[in-house]
């Protein structure tokens, strides 16, 4: 066929052959994923497996162009595969509505492919795919974008750094006291309000809304929520009042403020808060919002105290009705930033708190971004980065790894005339947790306080990115990923199960085909609330002391995924 011949001449016969027979795995069908899929199709790739656990949302449509309005709510992986098939019916493409971290996507599964593209938006999935590609010895093309900026790189075991060779930036952490007692910025109020929502209607022990630091251990109490300092029995109390909004507001924005005011030391060098009299702000008539600026969305108007009180009343009643109407053993409302009552509630509560503390109020548009961790996104950034990704794939298939590189997409302003900046790939870090020949690390904990469950969730899953680890100390099995060993009491401290300073723990994740040795050392007190330190074993230990992604962050990612998977909105076709 003439067309194929033309393509062969342009790419060269060998490369053309490789492109058309190459088996590609694409993880993620969002902004970058849609663009990658389109590029693969137009470049001549014919064999694609696509995994994405999400469904289509309206806000995706400004850039995830494989989806249309009538597909909102459907599985992204399946919808994207359908659209690509319609571009070219000769393409073999499977779209799987699933989490790449499922056990069915084991090393054997990965080994079926020639190239893997990561088109993800979260750290824990990136780490997992990195592990799997290392185990299967596959080239991985990693990429990410935010706003106008983007970057892409190539990872190949033994040749280049893997994703975990260098520490990744840890998201912002807030001191607990700031949220509880001395907020000074709108974000502090939003975090508090989000937590309030969890306590009243959602998952009550949900600390995942916040990344905390400093002295949190000391502030923990059995009766009070760590972040809001409200009683853990708040929901019971609210139920007993039938969620009377005025009584609740009075407690939160008047009584509790009075209590804070009585702690003089807090206010010696700070402007003290003023309690709000919410009863006085009861609206007698509905006022129409005043737009400061004609170029404003309705969501961009800032509510007065009156309006906040009104919105608080209406949203809390709506949420109460919904919560009371839950059936099928469900006892909690699932947080959804696109849920208008939930956003109304959080905006009203955050602003009331802001008003009390003399902090400028924010509009719903801004608060939604803070509460929902929204990242602004456009089509062009993803288009450019995805183009580079597929060019890298062509290099890999030609065997030209020396042409592969890291590429940064910058803006006019920060670039000195260089918009796309290539950088040479770097050899692997010999002390990397993930790709070193024999990964080792030193773990500092208080053996009398740290439990097996802490080890599992904070260290192995939270910091080391494992999913289902087994831990042995010599012949003794401490933790198991298998059901038969459910007899292991994870609440026991390490000391109680026989771990001593100098003990060697052998950790293995069967799914990721990943092993690491942990050397244990005793330490009594720690800088932050995590209660541990993790160091890779090397001479320059200062450099390598863990700036690992915070265990809270990874745990939150995993919890969000679990929420998505098991929420009411998860639809299997």
């Amino acid at each position: 066929m003439m067309v194929e011949r033309a393509a062969q001449q342009v790419l060269g016969l060998t490369l053309y052959e490789k492109v058309s027979t190459c088996k590609v795995l694409v993880v993620g069908a969002g902004g970058i994923g849609c663009e990658i899929l389109k590029n693969l199709s137009t470049t001549g790739f014919r064999n694609i497996f696509l995994v994405d656990l999400d469904t289509v949302d309206v806000s995706n449509l400004n850039r995830q162009f494989l989806y249309q309005l009538h597909q909102v709510g459907k599985s992204k992986a399946e919808a994207a595969a359908d659209t690509i098939r319609s571009f070219n019916p000769n393409i073999q493409i499977t779209g799987s509505h699933a989490d790449i971290r499922s056990f069915e996507y084991n090393v054997e599964f990965f080994e079926k492919f020639d190239i893997v593209f990561n088109a993800l938006d979260n750290l824990s999935a990136r780490i997992h795919v990195n592990r799997m590609c290392l185990a299967a010895n596959l080239p991985l093309i990693e990429s990410g974008t935010t706003g106008y900026l983007g970057q892409t790189t190539v990872i190949k075991r033994g040749l280049t750094e893997c994703f975990e060779c260098t520490p990744k930036p840890v998201p912002k952490r807030f001191p607990v006291c700031t949220i509880r007692s001395t907020p000074s910025l709108p974000i502090h109020c939003v975090v508090w309000a989000r937590h309030l929502f969890s306590q009243l209607f959602g998952h009550a022990d949900d600390e995942s809304a916040v990344s905390l630091s400093v002295n949190a251990q000391e502030l923990r109490s059995a009766e009070h929520d760590l972040v809001t300092d409200l009683p853990k029995s708040l929901r019971k109390w609210a139920v007993s009042l039938n969620f009377d909004p005025y009584k609740i507001m009075h407690k939160l924005f008047s009584e509790d403020i009075h209590t804070l005011l009585s702690m003089d030391t807090l206010w010696r060098n700070r402007n003290p808060p003023q309690p709000l009299n919410c009863y006085a702000h009861a609206k007698t008539e509905k006022q129409s919002p005043v737009y400061e600026n004609p170029h404003c969305l309705p969501d961009q108007s800032v509510w007065s105290v009156d309006e906040c009180v009104d919105h608080f009343c209406r949203s809390i009643k709506e949420l109460r009705d919904r919560w009371e109407g839950l059936t099928n053993d469900l006892t909690e409302l699932l947080w959804d930033k696109d849920d208008s009552s939930m956003m109304q509630f959080v905006t009203a509560a955050a602003n009331l708190r802001a008003y009390a503390f003399g902090i400028p109020a924010s509009n719903l548009f801004e608060i939604k971004a803070l509460a929902g961790s929204i990242i602004p996104a456009i089509a062009t950034t993803n288009a450019i980065i995805a183009g580079i990704c597929v060019i890298e794939a062509l290099h890999i298939l030609s065997g030209d790894f020396d042409k592969c590189q890291t590429t940064f997409l910058k803006t006019e302003k920060n670039s000195r005339n260089r918009l796309l900046v290539p950088e040479k790939l770097v050899p692997p870090n010999p002390k990397c947790y993930a790709c070193a020949e024999q990964p080792e690390a030193k773990l500092f904990v208080n053996l009398s306080k740290f439990t097996l469950e802490d080890l599992r969730s904070k260290i192995l899953i939270g910091s080391l990115g494992m999913l289902a680890p087994d831990v042995c100390m010599g012949p003794k099995l401490l933790l198991s990923s298998e059901e038969e060993h459910a007899g292991i009491n994870k609440a026991k401290t390490l000391k109680e199960v026989g771990v001593r300073p100098g003990s060697l723990l052998e950790v293995e994740d069967f799914l990721q085909d990943h092993k690491i040795r942990l050397f244990v050392a005793e330490k009594d007190t720690f800088q932050d609330q995590d209660g541990f330190e993790l160091e890779s074993r090397s001479i320059d230990s200062e450099e390598n002391t863990s700036k690992r992604p915070s265990s809270e962050v990874l745990k939150r990612d995993l919890e969000e995924i679990e929420e998505n998977l098991f929420s009411k909105r998860f639809k299997k076709n």
């Binding site: 066929m1 003439m2 067309v3 033309a6 393509a7 001449q9 342009v10 790419l11 663009e35 590029n39 137009t42 470049t43 001549g44 309206v58 806000s59 449509l61 400004n62 850039r63 162009f65 249309q68 309005l69 319609s86 571009f87 070219n88 019916p89 106008y148 910025l185 170029h295 404003c296 969305l297 309705p298 969501d299 961009q300 929204i374 602004p376 996104a377 456009i378 089509a379 062009t380 950034t381 993803n382 288009a383 450019i384 995805a386 183009g387 580079i388 990704c389 597929v390 060019i391 590189q405 590429t407 803006t411 006019e412 302003k413 005339n417 260089r418 918009l419 796309l420 900046v421 290539p422």
Partner: protein, 333 residues
């Protein structure tokens, strides 16, 4: 064009981009009427990106017919389109599905048939695949009517774009730290809008080819002549002389032709130290992912130009076929 307030549907659809460039930019986009010339590999990428961005209308001008190559590569074409149909019409259904809010028109007339008045009604003109004479002619028409103009092309792994935004006013968002705060401090940051202005030279003073009536005195001595800029001129001259682009089927004779054109250009501009031997073979064919990269860059230039937000490229963008770097070059008197 009056800028109405965005509807709730628009606010929901464009939420993620409004959070980046602001609602005024979105309103200006919504008032823009753009002409796109050429809807093949590069053109279809540009079309996709600016349709998604939410302009008011896009007119696609392309007198070509659908070929086998198009069916294989162009994601805006449906599968079972008869070869020989007009491409400007056949891309419309898929293009419309990208964003039902944008008004789309296909125009199957040749570019050469269009006179100055045709260009008057557009906010911006984006051109691909046109010959040198058409580039200069359309730039002149655009200048007559204060219409922004952007031209770009792909030759194999090499891509470039050239802008003429004439007198361009724009706003920049600058982050200002409160006085007394250090960088990176957790305090309030204020974003302020700064006004700025840029002037662009006309393209007949930027792209100068041998044996034309152009003013060779406009060629300013370039302190560091750029291989890729020479390549750009060489390829335009090839197209002008041979009425086609370098073709893979004739690679070896076309490379020879390119080399000889290159010596002419180097002489005309009085360049030295131009090393292009490794590059010639990279100029053949239509490499899709390169279309995607340049299509993204050009579409972002359109968005910046019509929304008058953020500094545009002034005035040439060059995508390096060897290093995949993307650089801005300023050329002109």
């Amino acid at each position: 064009m009056t800028e109405k307030q965005l509807s709730t549907d628009e606010a929901e659809l464009y939420d993620r981009q409004i959070r980046l460039w602001g609602i005024e930019s979105q309103e200006r986009l919504r008032a823009a009427d753009v002409l796109l010339i050429g809807v093949r590999g590069l053109g279809s990428e540009i079309a996709k990106n600016i349709i998604l961005a939410g302009i008011n209308s896009l007119t696609i001008l392309d007198d070509g017919e659908v070929t086998q190559e198009d069916l294989r590569q162009n994601f805006l074409l449906q599968e079972k389109i008869p070869l020989g149909n007009k491409i400007a019409e056949e891309v419309l259904p898929r293009a419309q599905a990208l964003n039902p809010l944008v008004k789309l028109t296909g125009d199957t007339e040749p570019v050469a048939a269009k006179t100055s008045d045709y260009f008057k009604k557009f906010t911006m003109v984006v051109a691909t695949r046109i010959k040198f004479d058409a580039i200069i002619k359309i730039d002149n028409y655009c200048r007559e009517h204060n219409v922004k103009f952007l031209y770009g092309d792909i030759f194999g792994f090499f891509g470039f774009a050239v802008s003429d935004l004439q007198e361009h006013d724009y706003f920049e968002d600058r982050v200002q730290l409160q006085s007394g705060q250090k960088r990176g401090h957790d305090g309030e940051k204020k974003t302020i809008k700064v006004e700025a202005k840029m002037t662009f030279p006309p393209l007949n003073k930027v792209l100068i080819l041998p044996n034309t009536k152009q003013d060779i005195n406009a060629i300013k001595k370039m302190s560091r002549p750029n291989n890729l800029f020479v390549a750009l001129l060489v390829l335009l001259e090839f197209r002008r002389q041979h009425d086609r682009d370098p073709a893979a089927a004739k690679m070896s004779e076309d490379v020879d032709t390119l080399k000889s054109i290159s010596s002419q250009i180097v002489e005309l501009y009085n360049f030295s130290n131009i090393q292009m031997d490794d590059l010639y073979e990279l100029f053949f064919g239509d490499i899709s992912p390169v279309c995607a990269v340049l299509g993204g860059v050009m579409a972002q230039e359109v968005i910046k130009a019509v929304s008058h937000k953020e500094p545009p490229i002034n005035n040439i963008f060059l995508f390096d076929p060897v290093s995949y770097s993307g650089k801005e070059l300023t050329v002109g008197p």
